[in-house]
Amino acid sequence: MVPALFFPWCSSLRAHQRAGRCGDGRHGPKSALRAVREMGSSGLAACALEGPGWLQRHLLSGEFDQLRNFTVFESNFVQVTRFGEVANKVTMGVAASSPALELPDLLLLAGPTKENGCLQLLGLFPLQFVQLYIHDESRQQLKVKFCTGRAFYLQLQGPAETRDLEFGKWVRLLYHLHFQAGQGAVPFTQEWGDEDEETGGDQEDREWDWRDQLQDREARLDPQTSELWGL
């Protein structure tokens, strides 16, 4: 296993979450339960309070040999349109394919299955082909842009007490990644105009919904529509 220290920018995230939970005077499961209730019925949100995240656990479940030793820094998001409308849940994480790396080199995306809402790994993408930006700091939104022009927006989810801290980790990570990639040290989309002007690509910056999200959306929310995703 890769030691947690390996990702200096995320090593203390879970610890902070635990501290926050104990520090509010109501210990253990009770406050966790309350936090879950506050999140509505979102099962995915519950995991942020306990040990490894959903994605990490999914990889550890034994179905993904090659990915099981990854240390994943992950958060739960909802996909939003450019104008902030909410589409669907996405868990996004970064991982390093080798313990020798100082920074993560892979982006992982996962989402609930249509059938029963269990988390399913959707994609694994080399970070060298993906750019991550802070899209709207106040709303805690990130922009994910693939080198092929696909782009989508994710808004951080989670208990209010820990969300700022968690978003801060992403911001730090993005600074590191942008610095490493030589993209200029500031990973923001808004203050710096549209980053597409910098890259000067003729690729349309299409808003990309994960696998045709608009169609998928109903399907995802209605487990009855597909009997196929038997996870």
């Binding site: 499961p29 966790a32 339960l33 879950v36 979102s42 099962g43 995915l44 519950a46 995991c47 490894p52 959903w54 994605l55 656990r57 999914h58 990889l59 550890l60 479940s61 034994g62 179905e63 993904f64 040999d65 090659q66 394919s97 892979l106 609930p112 059938e115 029963n116 809402g117 269990c118 988390l119 399913q120 790994l121 959707l122 994609g123 694994l124 993408f125 080399p126 082909f129 993906v130 693939f146 080198c147 092929t148 696909r150 990309w208 696998r211 045709d212 169609q215 399907a219 597909s226 196929l228 995703w229 038997g230 996870l231």
Partner: protein, 216 residues
Amino acid sequence: MTYAYLFKYIIIGDTGVGKSCLLLQFTDKRFQPVHDLTIGVEFGARMVNIDGKQIKLQIWDTAGQESFRSITRSYYRGAAGALLVYDITRRETFNHLTSWLEDARQHSSSNMVIMLIGNKSDLESRRDVRREEGEAFAREHGLIFMETSAKTACNVEEAFINTAKEIYRKIQQGLFDVHNEANGIKIGPQQSISTPVGPSACPRSPRDTGSDSGCC
């Protein structure tokens, strides 16, 4: 949901031949007319029934474009089945099969079952590779062969399922060691007695956290 076995599949072949469309048709029964170049790996999963046994197919749809190929290659390891796809309307995608096959054989188990797929069979008027050529290539290299259309769904189910049948047959003949992870086969959580079940990644209500069994 429980399953007897899990088979890892990879889908490989040139960019634009329809790998992602085949996966989408198989898992979601729909067609995507726009080419969204895959970078890295996209995943799909579906249960199939072979001989009364539930089998979960875990499918790794890889990027075909040359610039992503060196990275995706490393994920061929541990696949039990491969769909090697070309486009019947583009001869160069057929000509590149040998190089894909070499890659696949080099980076995965020698037992891997490979299904050669001539995709886009709906575009008969634009056909550039005859069916017999595909058949001959498959025969020569010991592959199974089918022509499919991810657009009309013709033979898509069959391609995935026949590959699973062949893997299953090999297991029954003792050609696949199901306990060797490198073979891309896993015994389902209910079937295995000695293998501990890992932590579940399924959402549960806090009340359930005492239980050890996943909801999947």
